[in-house]
């Protein structure tokens, strides 16, 4: 008994057990005494590492699930089928950890179900809440195949199989939505987030980057399961994913620089200082290192190169999310936030929990097997297309396709959509095609202005607009708002005329203050101060101009 216990006590397991115990204590303190008792969060820094790392980065890194499921099931690129189950498992664990992290992070977690009954369609977070709820369900269904297979419930497995394609498509749609909407979260704070990270089309940045991060995570996991579980990485498949990842990263980086240039923020990246340093460190890790490694690897990629490229991308991706959620805000409004050790322990514990869950799942469930209802029949590297699963035979076509390069057309078409359609959408969001000039439509008919044509002629926004692109400013923001109703200067008239010459009431002999200085706000005499203000104004004229040297007690005795 003791012998068995001792042999199972590896240093890693002890470390994980300690970490989880410590985390449990911190969680107890957090729920008993509030978020302030274990975090450095404050009114100045409402979101910290738990949002930046556990939530934003965590969800992005779990994007591999929907990417691989779409690649294999929708685009029919059968070669990658051996990676699907593992990616879906990672995604499922990622989302479950995210939900765990969220329950710790939000102040009133017992209300978390409220999203279902209380709606706010204008809130990006509402959309994310729904997508995450639904997508986690989809992931569970997708992954449950493994469970049915393990239990030998083939009928359930086959029934589920019939809905697999719609499930995968729904999963991909939900992922596209909430992965990008995580970026939309920050579009509402244009002046609180540093211009190197802010963009009115942040969702596009978030979507493109999560594609790369999801692929990076799959490659990185291949390496991890090799180190920790002894499964050799699929070096026939992973290098290709790394190449696609590099391509997406290039598209992402070009897109991001274009976006910065359009908003006149690109120069910020070359102005020495902390913002530029963070920007380049982030992009060095996220884009430059992996792309260079992948390019240098040429035809044969070593496991080392695969590890460096994917790990660097993962790190850079985490840094991007953290920069948007925390650092980018600090650069504008420094609050000196740095996570407490408890915040760090919880984040590490979540990662450890992920490892434990993945380890258990791989140990007890047929995760590393290729998948498909009758995958066992396809031993030896031939895998069925899902719509063939219920029929026997028919492996010839799939074998043929595995040897051809054609399947990459599917992946390329996804990339093409990213590269072409998304920037086009972005342009449509930011620059109106036509503008109705109708401010004076009570005097003149509204003008239907061809904005695009003028932009083409003028070449740049600032040809007509004062303020840079992305900050539309109505004329009144520069041309002072008080359009003077009259230029009457009272003092001037007072010198040449007696009061009663103008003021009717005084002429009638009513010289009480209140006849001019109304007790409330008199809509007829808005420029005249009210009664209370007039009285106190008289006091203060002699008794000091500020409260510190005026004495209220002179007139108002203490009660």
């Amino acid at each position: 008994m003791f012998e068995r216990l001792r042999s199972s006590l590896t240093p890693w397991r002890v470390l994980v057990a300690l970490l989880l115990t410590l985390a449990a204590v911190i969680v107890t303190v957090r729920f008993a005494f509030g978020l302030g008792s274990v975090t450095n969060l404050s009114d100045e820094t409402p979101w910290g590492i738990w949002v930046g790392f556990d939530i934003l980065a965590g969800i992005g890194l779990a994007a591999g699930g929907f990417i691989m499921a779409s690649v294999v099931y929708v685009f029919g690129i059968e070669r990658y089928r051996p990676l699907v189950r593992m990616s879906i498992l990672t995604a499922l664990i990622g989302y479950l950890l995210f939900i765990t992290g969220l329950i710790l992070e939000i102040g009133r977690p017992w209300n978390i179900w409220r999203c279902i009954v209380d709606h706010n369609f204008h809130s990006p977070l509402y959309e994310i809440a729904w997508c995450v709820m639904l997508y986690t369900t989809v992931l569970m269904l997708e992954f449950s195949q493994v469970l049915w297979e393990r239990l030998g419930w083939h009928r359930v497995d086959r029934a589920l199989h019939r809905f697999l394609i719609p499930l995968v498509i729904i999963g991909a749609l939900l992922s596209t939505l909430h992965q990008s909407t995580l970026g939309t979260l920050f579009t509402i704070v244009p002046h609180k987030l540093h211009p190197l990270w802010y963009s009115p089309i942040l969702p596009v940045h978030f979507f493109l980057s999560c594609l790369a991060a999801g692929l990076a995570m799959i490659c990185f996991e291949g390496f991890l399961s090799w180190r920790f579980l002894g499964h050799p990485p699929r070096m026939d498949l992973l290098p290709n994913l790394a190449r696609i990842m590099a391509l997406i990263l290039v598209v992402y980086f070009v897109f991001r620089c274009e976006d910065l240039a359009v908003r006149h923020a690109l120069l910020e990246a070359f102005r020495p200082g902390l913002p530029a340093f963070l920007f380049w460190l982030e992009n060095l890790l996220f884009v430059i290192v992996p792309v260079v490694v992948v390019l240098r690897s040429a035809r044969r990629m070593t496991t080392g190169q695969l590890f460096v490229a994917s790990f660097s991308t993962v790190l850079g991706f985490i840094m991007h999310r953290f920069n948007v959620a925390v650092s980018g805000m600090q650069l504008i409004h420094p609050t000196g936030y740095f996570p407490t050790w408890q915040e760090l322990v919880i984040s590490m514990a979540l990662i450890a929990l992920g490892f434990v869950a993945a380890g258990l799942a791989i140990h007890y469930l047929p995760v590393t097997r290729p998948g498909g209802a009758d995958a066992s029949a396809g031993a030896g590297g031939t895998y069925r297309l899902p719509w063939r699963a219920s029929t026997g035979g028919g492996s010839t076509t799939t074998t043929r396709r595995e040897n051809s390069m054609r399947p990459d057309i599917g992946v390329l078409s996804v990339l093409l959509v990213c590269a072409l359609v998304l920037p086009a959408t972005a342009g449509e969001i930011s620059v109106p095609d036509r503008v109705a000039i109708d401010e004076l439509s009570n005097l003149y008919p509204a003008v239907d202005f061809d904005h695009s044509m003028h932009l083409e002629v003028e070449g740049e926004c600032t040809g007509c607009h004062h303020k840079p692109f992305g900050n539309p400013a109505p004329c009144v923001s520069c041309h002072a708002d008080p359009v003077a109703p009259s230029a009457f200067v009272h003092e001037l008239h007072w010198e040449v005329e007696e009061c009663t010459g103008c003021h009717q009431k005084q002429a009638a002999g009513d010289l009480r203050c209140v006849s001019c200085h109304a007790a409330g706000l008199d809509p007829q005499r808005l420029e005249v101060i009210g009664l209370k203000g007039a009285y106190h104004g008289l006091c203060l004229r002699c008794h000091g101009e500020t409260a510190s040297n005026a004495s209220c007690g002179l007139c108002h005795p203490e009660r």
């Binding site: 008993a32 939000i106 009133r108 209300n111 977070l125 939505l177 704070v189 101060i529 106190h536 500020t546």
Partner: protein, 260 residues
Amino acid sequence: MSAAKGLLIDITRCIGCGACSEACKTANELPAEMEDGLTADTWTVVSERGSENFVRDLCRHCIEPSCVSVCPVGALVKRTDGPVLYNKDICLGCRYCMIGCPFRIPKFEWHSATPRIRKCILCAPRLDRGLPPACAEACPTEATVFGDRDTLVAAARARLAATPDRYHPHVYGLTEVGGTSVLFLSPVPFEELDFDTAVASFPLPDLTWRLLMHVPNVVLLGAGFLGASYWLFRRRDEVAAAENEPAEGRHDAEAGGPHV
């Protein structure tokens, strides 16, 4: 509901006595201890900025509030008569309102096991009883006055026109973030008093809405694209299978379902 109400705060008239802050504490039954800045227990403060300029800080009760727009469950609502109000019973505590607020107003009870978002409520319960907000009632110099927002805008403009030397020619809150219920007049440019003059002059919720409104498009286009891709690739494989091995291919196609 009556017309939209608001506050006009004339910094040239404020003497920094702090009566507004005290009255706020009493009216809202907050702990009496006065703090330097806004906190969960202090909803308005007066602080000296620049030389002898006293500036009040409080919720601006935006006409199109970011906090209301970002709250996933609608725990924050904008009442038609002005106040932006909070409902703790449905709040998740996600604090997105604090991130979203352009003026950094909402505060959180960091050391509570059942934390709430706290901020000025424009004395909504007093408004319901036909009373002005406590701060406006307490102000000795009428630096803070309460009224219909339209009237206040007219008053601000009238003051600017009557005594232009006294004021910086701008009403802060008239166009900022699309307009706020709390308006400010200042003797000096607002940036000298630490006002954020870089805020957009349109309602910030527009920024998220013009993205979120594309959700149905993304769903429809995405579903179309993925569905079509699936159909195409499947069709291609079926054709390839039929060409390669006629007998088996036909068998597959029959079992495969309606898409032949």
